[in-house]
């Protein structure tokens, strides 16, 4: 389908020999205890449970291995050994999977990596284009919503050492390079609301006022800090957690919410099935980047007053097909149920 946009400069095509379904498919998640990941797992299960998909799937196995890359490698090895047809995973460390990829190749298992993709052309990689995500879309929109493109901007970064953080930072720098009158102050928020709030409040205490905020994840912390310190309303760019979007809408803060949806999970599984059915896909696929400005926000579309603040408002990639849309109720129904 048209949502599998090949990444710029990537020519490689991935194609496997067609096999007969239904397939045994595994999903190997890394970190546990992160709402985004939980919602991702729920979306995958919700998607796989629908009758149209259930036909193709003989077995869906989901595993979370935690932050230990050795455990994740072993999990994938185990599924390869056990003869699963396809394994989708979010890499804990993008560079660690060279050896596994070789073993998968030998055993004929299809690997699909997404969200935090591996640094290898040999497996299918599905991911947002992070530099565009943070740069052309988020940063540009924030700058456009500023009164004039000058002054101080606070950049709230994510976990240091993570490749996503690196790419996002590059995206921001690329855009702001065009605005010499904008001074950027960087702080590290670790993608978690409390830390984001603390470092933002600290920065406000020291620098007085900012003319805009650009934040990666946990951005409710920025709006909270603004409110707590009585900071004037200025544009804020952030991701798409319900709490943040609610805050933008409720206090009419100009800004933008850009989403990396947990719907990446079902997209990846669908791609894996497509590969098993013999379809060809570009080696690196960039997902569309849903986003919405404050002016265009609507309740129960862009934010959900009845859902918790950690809910990811963009439940799926609608542009990738009707089957990629999930209602909150459908996801919640999946929460604690068994496989």
């Amino acid at each position: 389908p048209d949502c599998y946009v090949p990444a710029a400069g990537v020519e490689t095509i991935i194609k496997y020999e067609r096999r007969e379904g239904p397939y045994r498919i595994a999903l190997v998640n890394g970190h546990t205890g992160i709402p985004w990941r939980e919602q991702m797992i729920k979306s995958v299960k919700a998607w796989a449970a629908r009758p149209e998909q259930a036909r193709d799937i003989a077995e869906l196995k989901v595993i979370s291995t935690g932050s230990d890359v050795a455990a994740q490698i072993a999990a994938i090895d185990n599924f390869i050994q056990a003869g699963y047809d396809a394994i989708a995973f979010i890499a804990v460390n993008p560079t660690a999977f060279g050896a596994v990829i070789k073993r998968a190749e030998r055993a004929g298992a299809v690997l699909v990596s997404f969200d935090n993709p591996v640094d290898s052309e040999k497996v299918l990689r599905i991911t947002p284009e992070w530099t565009t995500f943070e740069g052309e879309i988020k940063t540009q929109s924030v700058v456009d919503q500023m009164k004039q493109p000058k002054g101080k901007v606070l950049e709230v970064r994510g976990i240091q050492g993570n490749s996503t953080d690196r790419d996002r930072h590059v995206g921001l720098e690329r855009v702001l390079a065009n605005y010499p009158d904008i001074e950027v102050i960087e702080v590290v928020g670790n993608w978690d609301t409390g830390t984001v709030q603390k470092v933002t409040a600290d920065a406000i205490a020291v620098h007085g006022q900012f003319d805009a905020f650009i934040c990666q994840h946990g951005c409710r912390g920025v709006t909270n800090a603004m409110e707590a310190t009585g900071h004037p309303i200025v544009p804020v760019g952030g991701d798409a957690e319900n709490g943040f979007v609610k805050a933008l809408a409720a206090r009419n803060i100009p800004g933008i919410s850009v989403s990396t949806s947990p719907g990446q999970g079902p997209v990846a599984i669908r791609a894996a099935i497509a590969l098993l059915q013999g379809e060809a896909l570009p080696a690196t696929v960039n997902l569309p980047t849903p986003n919405v400005k404050t002016a265009d926000m609507n309740p129960n579309v862009n934010y959900f007053p009845d859902e918790p603040d950690t809910f990811e408002t963009v439940t799926g990639y609608g542009s990738c097909g009707k089957d990629m849309v999930f209602t909150p109720d459908e996801l919640n129904a999946k929460s604690a149920g068994n496989n």
Binding site: T32, V199, A205, V206, D306, P308, D309, T310
Partner: protein, 319 residues
Amino acid sequence: MTAVFARLPFDVPTRSIVMAAALLLLVGGWQYPQFFSPPYLAQQLQSGAFLGIVAAGAMVVILLGHIDLSVPWTMTAAATVATAVVGLTPEVLVSEKGVLAGLAVGAAVGAVNGFGVAYLRIPSMIWTLATNNVLMGILVYFSGFYALSSRPSPLMSMLGSGRMFSIPNVVFVWVAVSLILLFILRSTTLGRRIYMVGTHEPAAYLSGVNSRGVLVAGFVIAGICSAMAGMLLAGYAGQSYQRMGDTYLLPGIAAVVLGGTSLFGGRGNYSGTVAGVMLLTLMASILSIMQAPEAAKQIVYGVVVITMVGFYSLRERYS
């Protein structure tokens, strides 16, 4: 300089830290004049208060000669349960049941920690690690809570993010917790017994102290402190979120030790812990304002802890 140093009240660690913190403020203030602005100082106190409440609990456990590694998920669990209960009972005042529920979670976790350490005799470092993992497991599994609201109660919001006379309310909570703890440690039989059990538990048993009870009480106090910090943090952030406690565990322990409390138990003053919290908080925000890269922050952090703690252990040795 040294003369002034010697004349300050408090013990050596407290004095050293206060000096170090003053030095930090001076140097920082010279670079960034905003350092002396009341909003900045208030902001530091606010950040410090969360850590301070965690450290208060950590100190009790450390005085007992143990350690509590379950802080991160105790905080998260208390905050999650509290906000979930608020979601179920949104009526004003009734929703404050959430606060009680959160405190109960903290006390229960503390009791389980204390049970394993005191009755099963499992080393606390490993038992509390296990309870921390179980708590995380429970929260991840039942993120059915997730379907509930994660809104804090009015009390939590008021205390966590409100201000009075432009001083953050959390600071008042911290002061109250500190006063209560100081009173417990100095003037109650429980406080005495905490020091005794921490000094040498067999001697405490042979002196007729119910050492198991004291251990459980200590862990319960710590659990309640963690729970309070978690709920206040939820009040501050306007929501509960997973991993909210991760950044408080090691700094909490470091603050206590920087304050001169011995990890072997039985020795330490609460004033030192307060000073330790201030120093760590100041250091963290100054580094963050200086835009120091993460690597530099970590290195500075480690060097400061080694220098300070090494300084007083050597000073104690050779004076």
